[in-house]
């Protein structure tokens, strides 16, 4: 005897996603839709930069120093070439450098957040589920780290890493060191949130049911608890991404991040600010606007996601 028979096929995951409340609120939030569109355009243009960019700014052969300091949309006095966003001191097309710079920025941001997320989730799950001294050690370490500004932590790690890498590899390793530095400075909030959610989930009866049939703690953490603590992680990951992009830009601006041979948006801004007062405003302005648009829309998307996933605000 069935309570009410409904002879329907089980729904696919895609169908469930499209029917979900999350997608429904997304369709009703103009801010979220615009932010998502901006993020999508920026990410796609970064990914396909080699196809979109008019020139490869890092190929010395394509550069003409005569093109230096060309204002946007104005023909160069010597060569007559015109550039959408102008050129910098070395005659590189600013539009192209932005597209390539965004690749570095996004890659560093995403990789750093992913690294922080994996580290934070692992430590959070373990400290929440195992408890005891393990928890105390992990969470007190997190507390201590939180007392330092994360940019300081990142600079510290960056400095140490730079010190131990041989000089000839420094430029190659810079990007990876940057990812490590930002990731390590950012794992704490993941760990805290995951630990809190784990403490709630582990007392639920489905976890007891799994313990009862003799499943190992690892299996319970990964198969049972992890899928149920991911929603808040998703929110933090999005907002962290915006922060990581900014952190990377900050480090690069300070000159401790991406090397001039692989400039990120932050490096471009650092280069640009030198020319601001001599009248070549476009070298600074366009990278800055791109960074702003990227960070802001990722952040707004994260804000919307947090509200949408929090049932109390709905």
């Amino acid at each position: 005897m069935s309570d009410f028979p409904i002879p329907v096929k089980p729904k696919s995951r895609l169908r469930i996603a499209l029917d979900s409340d999350l997608f429904y609120t997304f369709k009703r939030s103009p801010v979220a839709m615009v932010s998502a569109a901006v993020v999508l355009v920026l990410v796609l243009s970064a990914v396909f930069a080699p196809l979109i960019a008019p020139t490869n700014p890092f190929n010395p052969a394509s550069l003409n120093l005569m093109n230096g300091f060309t204002p946007p949309m104005t023909p160069n006095a010597f060569t007559g070439e015109s550039f959408f966003m102008g050129t910098d001191d070395q005659g590189r097309d600013v539009f192209s450098t932005i597209l390539y710079g965004m690749r570095i920025s996004l890659f560093v941001g995403v990789a750093a957040v992913f690294f922080a997320m994996v580290l934070g989730i692992t430590l959070g799950l373990i400290s929440g589920y195992v408890g005891g001294w393990t928890e105390t050690i992990i969470m007190r370490t997190a507390d201590v780290q939180l007392t330092f500004p994360s940019i300081l932590v990142a600079m510290l790690i960056f400095g140490i890493a730079k010190g131990v890498t041989p000089v000839e590899y420094r430029d190659q390793m810079a990007i990876w060191v940057l990812i490590l530095a930002i990731g390590l400075s950012d794992w704490v909030q993941f760990a805290r949130v995951v630990r809190g959610a784990t403490l709630v989930e582990k007392n639920k009866e489905y976890v007891q049911a799994a313990r009862l049939i003799g499943r190992t703690p690892t299996a319970i953490m990964l198969r049972h608890i992890l899928p149920n603590v991911l929603s808040p992680v998703l929110v933090i990951a999005t907002i962290s991404l915006a922060l990581a992009i900014i952190a990377e830009a900050t480090l690069s601006f300070l000159g401790v991040g991406a090397p001039p041979t692989q400039p990120s948006l932050g490096t471009l801004i650092r280069i640009g600010q030198g020319f601001l007062f001599s009248g070549e405003w476009w070298i600074l302005l366009f990278p800055a606007i791109t960074l702003l648009a990227l960070a802001l829309s990722v952040n707004l998307l994260g804000d919307w996601l947090r509200d949408a996933l929090n049932p109390r605000l709905r």
Partner: protein
Amino acid sequence: MTLVRVKNLSRVFDVSKPWLNRVIERRSKAFLTAVSEVDFEVEPRSTYALVGESGSGKSTIGKMLVGLLKPSSGTVEIEGIDLANETDAAKIDVIRSDIQMIFQDPYASLNPRWRVRDIIVEPVASRGGTTEGLAEKLLEQVGLSVQDAGKFPHEFSGGQRQRICIARALASEPNLIVCDEPTSALDVSVQAQVLNLMSDLKDDFGLTYVLISHDLTVVRHMADKIGVLYLGRLVEEASPNDLFETPKHPYTQMLLEAAPQMDGFGREVQPPEGEIPDPINPPSGCAFHPRCPIAQDICKGQRPEMRVLNGTRVACHLAE
């Protein structure tokens, strides 16, 4: 042969504040005795019910029966094997698949991210058994449809979820199912459906139930034998008829008198005095003596032993 043998079972929880707080506030450690020296046996293919109010330790006993908690002292033997002290992994594995549990909250006892099929077969799949068609077979046995296997728990009502929990409990073909308040989160009409299902399955599969409940009417309907708990102690154990017709322990009498009755229109009962004492500092002697209408000096000084009285086991100095 007895299926479950509980001997002198106790469980103490350390409810002390953290070490630093204790030092600063100059307090000693605090211990809560949730279960204290409980003895009982469950016959195969019978339903043994544990009733009691909050803090009576009934859920703690349930968790010790299935091995979710270790006893502080005493033993739980199931099919002659003591899960807490057994070292042979093969034997533990056999017992684990022989014991299952049904929980109170059907909304918390199913993983919301898993499909029903995966939930139901987990007890078998995690041991590497074959699960082909198993979920579908069990769903039909608990009165759901085969199509339900592919759905997620949130698509079901509370009663249907409890059926899914029952299907999961049956998957490893257990002998013993511990049911911790299986229907207290359900509406009356749904409760009837679930209780009937449990009775049918008991006959079909030759199951033994340990039923934990605070609801006297449910217990009376389901149980072959009832143990009444008060503050972690077993105070009376009898068949339903004996317990409800001639309760021997004053606490049982009070509980039966206080329970609302469907035909008790405008009943003017003298409500029982007082509340359940703090289990961290339980009363001396018989734990019920501060509320007991017939308590005497011996009840304060000496904890009563279980004794047999006309087929009823009762822990009271004065019961007769």
